[in-house]
């Protein structure tokens, strides 16, 4: 087994009076592609924020990049490329595609240092990797949702990260764009040997692409290769009536509550 890059050890996370994730023990080795699934409120985004060092465990430990998560400093975070849930982007926000990708360099550069030509080259290379370099002078707001997600992935890649953390990267995209984005993520994982942690509701989209699935429902309900986790008895315990299995190869999760 390769060196673990993320290690939860009986870690519990939450807020005063609220437990969002309880007693999680999970080890993710370097270069693994892990999908995180679970219904709404199961703690997926909490897991994401914890890995980013934005939440400290109430009990237990979490080590990321050989560092306790509560001690993650800015230079550690700069090694975690993060794609947050797709928010509402102001279409008039004055930022070009290249400027948005360049932001990925800011954490690694540190305070007071101006981006150099090398940083611009790294940002442009990241844009080229996601097929968006020819749009570098376009306004970000002028792009489609799928293209914007590609730019944000490029921004994360411009950090030259060791971990790529993706929080529902396909939400709000049409089916073609969803496939395109997930294929891109898989391709980047393979080419760059990145550790990828991808939170998603779309089981169908990632089941054949990830090395391992983690199923959350406040606790770590199941983990393992997709074929071991995606069993009707396991899924029905977590999703209940929200789950509809149409045939052996196709699983649908109704997503009425998801926004």
């Amino acid at each position: 087994m390769t060196h673990p890059i993320i290690r939860f050890d009986h870690a519990t996370f939450g807020f005063p009076g609220i437990v969002a994730l309880e007693d999680i023990s999970l080890t993710i080795p370097e270069s693994e592609f892990v999908g995180v699934i679970g219904p709404n409120g199961s703690g997926k985004t909490t897991l994401c924020r914890a890995v980013l060092g934005l939440m400290a465990p109430l009990s237990g430990t979490l080590r990321v990049l050989d560092c306790a998560c509560e001690e993650l400093r800015c230079h550690h975070r700069a090694l975690i490329g993060y794609l947050p849930q797709k928010g509402m982007i102001d279409r008039n926000f004055p930022v070009t595609v290249l400027e948005a990708a360049m932001m990925g360099r800011y954490g690694a550069l540190g305070l007071f240092r101006r981006p150099s030509q090398k940083d611009r080259d790294i940002a442009r290379a990241a844009l080229a990797q996601v097929g968006m370099d020819h749009h570098r002078d376009s306004a970000l707001g002028a792009l489609s949702g799928g293209q914007q997600q590609r730019v944000f992935i490029a921004r994360a890649l411009a950090q030259q990260p060791r971990i790529l953390l993706l929080d529902e990267p396909t939400t709000g995209l049409d089916l073609t764009a969803q496939h395109s984005v997930v294929e891109l993520i898989q391709q980047l994982h393979q080419e760059l040997k990145l550790t990828v942690l991808m939170i998603t509701h779309d089981i169908n989209m990632i089941r054949s692409r990830v090395d391992r699935l983690v199923l959350l429902k406040t606790k770590l309900f199941a983990q393992g290769p997709p074929q071991e986790v995606l069993k009707p008895d396991i899924l029905s315990q977590v999703y209940g009536k929200e789950l509809v299995i149409t045939d052996k190869d196709f699983v649908l999760v109704e997503d009425y509550h998801h926004h």
């Binding site: 934005l54 800015c74 007071f112 002028a142 950090q159």
Partner: protein, 299 residues
């Protein structure tokens, strides 16, 4: 202060008598006066600082926070006059306290930002009115901070404005990439290794300092317009962060300097002249915005 006002009255009187002279001649004569040189320099500095910080205020969605800070700073001025302190000292204290409390409330997510600012806005304004009431006598200098009196800026005040402007613009120059990033997405910035929380509080601090810088020039009521309007005008004109900052600064300086000259030429109050000129440019930019006229369809 009194000497400066006498000079203003004298110039205005002369202007009326010289109405037939060419604008060029009048302008040259005008620039020969020390008070006018100070006024134009103060206006240019205020225009530059307000419009540059305004870019981050507009993009980060802190518009109402700036308005609250301006009124809090005025409460500080009134208390300073009541206690015999230098007016700008307590303006800074009140302004900083307001923006920091506002930032803390937003960070903790305890209530919506506009609600907490609304409470602080009205509370500090109530304090200002209370302090004014306690003064018993009418003090025209205090009202100068409420409505602005750029033509009466003293050399000492100009030096304070200049010093604070260097601090604010220098800080923005040094940390512009971090400020842009938190304006774009603060959580993404934090997750990317930028000390976003500290930068956010720094931004709030710069807003408070900017309000204090501009308080004497355009007044507590109108200072926020100088922060908001040039940046909002530039926002209409470009898709680039760098260009928006540059355009905003140029618009801010142009409006501030032109407003002072207009106020002199037509015997108008300076603060409203600056702000109304900026407002006119804003609506012109909205009508002619390339973003609206040539909206690119998503590909």
């Amino acid at each position: 202060m009194v000497r400066a006002r006498d000079a203003v009255d004298s110039v205005i009187a002369r202007t009326h008598s010289q109405i037939t002279r060419s604008p060029h001649t009048i302008m040259l004569e005008l620039l020969a006066y020390d008070f006018m040189q100070r006024s134009l320099l103060a206006a240019a500095l205020v225009g530059a600082v307000c419009s540059v910080i305004g870019v981050f205020v507009v993009l980060r969605g802190l518009a109402f926070a700036g308005a609250g800070t301006a009124h809090a700073a005025f409460a500080g001025v009134t208390l300073a006059y009541l206690l015999g302190f230098p007016p700008l000292s307590l303006a800074i204290v009140f302004g900083l306290a307001t923006v920091w409390i506002t930032g803390w409330v937003e960070e903790k997510g305890r209530m919506k930002l506009d609600v907490s600012i609304g409470i602080l806005y009205t509370a500090t304004m109530a304090l200002a009115i209370l302090f004014l009431g306690l003064m018993k006598t009418y003090n025209p200098e205090v009202y100068g901070y409420l409505f602005g009196s750029v033509l009466s800026v003293t050399t000492e005040e100009l030096m304070t404005i200049g010093g604070l402007s260097v601090v604010v613009l220098g800080t923005i120059l040094l940390l512009s990439k971090e400020l842009y990033f938190i304006a774009f997405d603060q959580e993404m910035a934090a997750a990317s290794g930028v000390p976003a929380r500290q930068i956010f509080y720094l931004l709030l601090t710069l807003v408070a300092l900017t309000v204090v810088i501009a308080l004497k020039t355009v007044g507590a009521i109108l200072v926020f317009a100088m922060i908001l309007i040039p940046a909002s005008t530039a926002y209409q004109l470009t898709h680039s962060l760098t260009q928006m900052t540059l355009y905003s600064m140029l618009i801010g300086i142009f409006c501030a300097v032109s407003g002072v000259l207009l106020s002199y030429a037509f015997d108008l109050p300076s603060g409203p002249s600056i702000v109304l000129l900026a407002t006119g440019l804003f609506f012109l930019a909205v009508c002619c915005s390339p973003k609206r006229l040539h909206r690119i369809q998503p590909t």
